[in-house]
């Protein structure tokens, strides 16, 4: 303490809390996007700290694709009870049933999350949405602002972003427009895990190594579950695996791992040589700029 230097985790924590408080102070109706993944868990944890001992002054929203790991839904519901949160669920299956959206080829619901999200934003009148995205995740994200302006269609225009200097954020918008806010912009995957380990932040058990029946498909390990059946030529086998990301259960692959504690996960991440999206997400492999294209349409 005598050197009066904050270590990197506390520096990042401080910066994120500053961002979260700025939004609460300046925006009319913020909402925190919660996916059940580790990034949104850390973001929620920081929001709790930002307003303690008061409760979080905004709701959290979950885009339920209907393809979630049941463990993630159970985890979400427990957090909502424990932290006394207001939860908004935007349901993709409901939107499908109403015929508002249609599934893509291969059963991907990644693209149709966007219209469901935009409809929920409009219904609830949210003007600021917190997302747990980090700039180290993907090259289009590396250029996105902490306060990212979206027009009335929810679109991101990478060439027309507001300059962002010091810690002076500009959240001024016209009615119907929104700001997407990324308090974890400067965190890396390893920072997130170090933080979870250091502050004992609870995460779904799927992140830790466990035995699970999986099939190997294009070099990736997919769990056999309600959403994925083994194909005729595939032989399911029990392997020791864990998940690095929490996407849809029909698209998210597991990685082989012996890391059954958070400390071992940190060790594993520090040594790993593949990005988390590259290792586990079928949905980002479409093209060099697939993330940029989805963000322009209003995706997070």
């Amino acid at each position: 303490m005598t050197s009066r230097v904050l270590d990197q985790l506390r520096t990042l924590e401080s910066e994120s809390i500053h961002v979260i408080r700025e939004v609460a102070a300046e925006m009319q109706r913020p909402c925190l996007m919660f996916s059940g993944g580790k990034d949104s868990i850390v973001m929620l944890h920081l929001a709790v700290k930002a307003f303690a001992p008061a409760r979080i002054p905004f709701p959290i929203m979950h885009i339920d694709t209907g393809l979630n790991f049941p463990e993630v839904i159970a985890f979400r519901d427990r957090l909502v009870t424990d932290l006394d949160l207001d939860l908004v669920v935007a349901s993709v299956p409901d939107a499908l049933a109403r015929g508002e959206v249609r599934e893509g080829p291969g059963g991907s619901r990644n693209r149709i999350q966007t219209p469901v999200l935009l409809a929920a934003i409009e219904e609830h009148g949210f003007d600021a949405l917190f997302g747990g995205a980090r700039r180290d995740e993907e090259k289009a994200r590396a250029k996105e602002r902490v306060f990212s302006f979206r027009d009335e269609f929810g679109q991101w225009d990478p060439k027309n972003q507001r300059p962002e200097l010091w810690n002076l954020y500009n959240g001024r918008i016209a009615p119907g427009e929104q700001i997407r806010v990324f308090p974890l912009s400067n965190w890396t995957e390893l920072d997130i895990w170090n933080y979870i380990a250091h502050y004992d932040v609870p995460v779904p058990g799927l992140y830790l190594a466990h035995d699970r029946e999986v099939v190997e498909r294009q070099g990736m390990l997919y769990a056999v579950n309600d959403f994925i059946d083994a194909r005729d030529d595939e032989v399911p086998a029990v392997r020791r695996v864990r998940y690095r990301t929490m996407g849809d259960a029909n698209l998210t692959a597991a990685v082989e791992s012996e890391a059954d504690t958070i400390a071992k996960v940190v060790e594993e991440i520090a040594a790993v040589r593949l990005t988390e999206r590259g290792a586990t997400r079928g949905d980002d492999k479409v093209s060099d700029t697939s993330m940029e294209d989805r963000k322009k349409e209003g995706y997070f």
Binding site: S3, R4, V5, L6, D7, Q8, R10, T11, L12, E13, S14, E15, I17, H18, R21, E22, A24, A25, K49, A50, F51, A52, P53, A54, R55, R135, D136, E138, K139, A140, A142, K143, P158, K159, Q161, R162, P163, E164, L165, W166, N167, L168, N170, R172, I173, A174, S185, N186, T188, L190, D191, V272, R273, L274, T275, G278, A279, D288, T289, E292
Partner: protein, 417 residues
């Protein structure tokens, strides 16, 4: 304990800036296999016989197609000693806006010079903008040393040339390193080709630079972000003022004055995300509890009674204009954000425009256009609590916002009065 260092790089593709960053990421293992495969694949498709490390930083479609860098990109890597955040900005004069943005939060600026070309107008501009934005450590990287036969004379001439120019600027410290970003010499590992060079490699320099003392730990400035008042019965008596400590060291028991009201009391407690502390220092996010219940709201500032900022509605500032669709001139009005306070600002006068290449002051100019920097006087609708930017980056900076488009149109640096 590892801390965090932010550095800014500026330069054009020709200088090998992206290659240098790619090299830092690659050699410090901040780069993942699939990212590398990705750029190897694209390099091959384009018919390059080398891996184009610049593809790592150029992420947007237009950038990849046109081979240019449009915007500020942030990159991350870490060594056991430090986490690094790189603000990577394009170097051309039309991107002064992005350089200013990148430098606004940087501790260190890397100035890249091509050994064959020497110090150019562009390198002088980068140095000027970095020091203007209060970056106190400059690192001059003389790149492409392999193309000048690792000549010590070439290196020394460039360094001397740069120092002559830097003497006109306020530079905290300047280091110079002969490197080859393409081959990796003196970036992460020491070069065998420069036995005459005694200094550290770039990474080692970045790991060891002492930046903690750059912060202002003298003048207590605490802009209030919001008031924390729980509604629950358990914490009904709690009332705290949340914010980021901009400067100074704030201790429990300290007398404080609230601006603008002038009311005085003492600090009863300081809460942080990790519990209560006896003292806070920047850049901690804290909640301050006061001994007496007095009226404090967002936009107010807590300071020490004997050390107060200038409370004024008249601000002298350097402005970097950032909007392409309009210009700044006398009598125009904008929204202004300074610390946690919004107000309106009227431009009284444009005193001069600075040529960012020659540092010449054009007093005949009365308008600032995109990427222009100039001195202006502003009249504010309500008093701001300001310090000179040189002494305090947090209370010396502001942004201007166009009230019709809501775009951030300018960055402002408060000058000493």
């Amino acid at each position: 304990m590892s801390d965090l260092l932010r550095f800014a790089t500026a330069g054009s593709v020709d200088d090998g800036k992206s290659t240098l960053i790619g090299r830092l990421l690659f050699d410090s293992k901040g780069l993942f296999t699939d990212q590398l495969e990705d750029i190897e694949r694209i390099s091959q498709r384009r018919g390059n016989d080398y891996v184009d490390l610049s593809l790592l930083t150029d992420g947007l479609r237009a950038e990849r197609e046109q081979g240019i860098t449009i915007d500020v990109a942030y990159r991350y890597f870490a060594t056991p000693r430090r986490k690094f955040i790189i603000a990577d900005t394009p170097g051309h004069v039309q991107y002064t806006r992005n350089m200013v943005t990148g430098a606004s939060t940087a501790d260190v600026a890397l100035i890249l010079v091509d050994a064959r070309k020497g110090v150019t107008e562009q390198s002088r501009r980068h140095a000027f903008l970095a020091t203007l934005l209060g970056v106190s450590h400059l690192v001059l990287c003389v790149n492409k040393m392999d193309l000048v036969d690792w000549s010590e004379d070439v290196f020394r001439t460039i360094v001397d040339d740069f120092k002559e120019f830097a003497a006109k600027l306020i530079v905290g410290d300047l280091s110079s390193i002969p490197v080859s970003a393409l081959l990796g010499d003196n970036v992460v590992t020491r070069s065998e080709h420069t036995p005459w060079f005694e200094g550290a490699t770039l990474l080692s320099l970045l790991e060891n630079l002492h930046v903690a003392s750059d912060r202002n730990l003298v003048d207590v400035r605490f802009p209030v972000q919001l008031v924390i008042r729980p509604q629950s019965s358990a914490a009904r008596d709690y009332r705290g003022y949340a914010g980021n400590l901009a400067s100074g060291i704030l201790k429990v028991g300290d007398p404080i004055r609230v601006l603008p009201s002038g009311l005085e009391t003492t600090v009863a407690g300081i809460d942080t995300a990790s519990g209560p502390v006896d003292e806070a220092f920047p850049p901690m996010s804290i909640v301050v509890r006061l001994a007496e219940e007095i009226d404090v709201s967002r936009g107010d500032m807590l300071v020490r009674p004997r050390n107060v900022p200038t409370v004024t509605q008249d601000v002298e500032a350097l402005i970097c204009w950032m909007d392409e669709s309009a210009t700044l001139s006398a009598r125009k009005k904008y929204a202004i954000k300074h610390t946690t306070r919004w107000a309106r600002a009227l431009v009284r006068d444009v005193e001069y425009r600075i040529d960012v290449n020659t540092l010449h002051r054009h007093i005949e100019d009365d308008e600032l256009a995109l990427n222009d920097i100039g001195r202006v006087t502003l009249r504010i609708t309500a008093p701001l609590f300001v310090d000179a930017y040189r002494e305090n980056r947090e209370t010396g900076s502001f942004i201007l916002v166009d009230e019709s488009t809501n775009r951030t149109v300018a960055a402002g640096l408060v000058l000493r009065r």
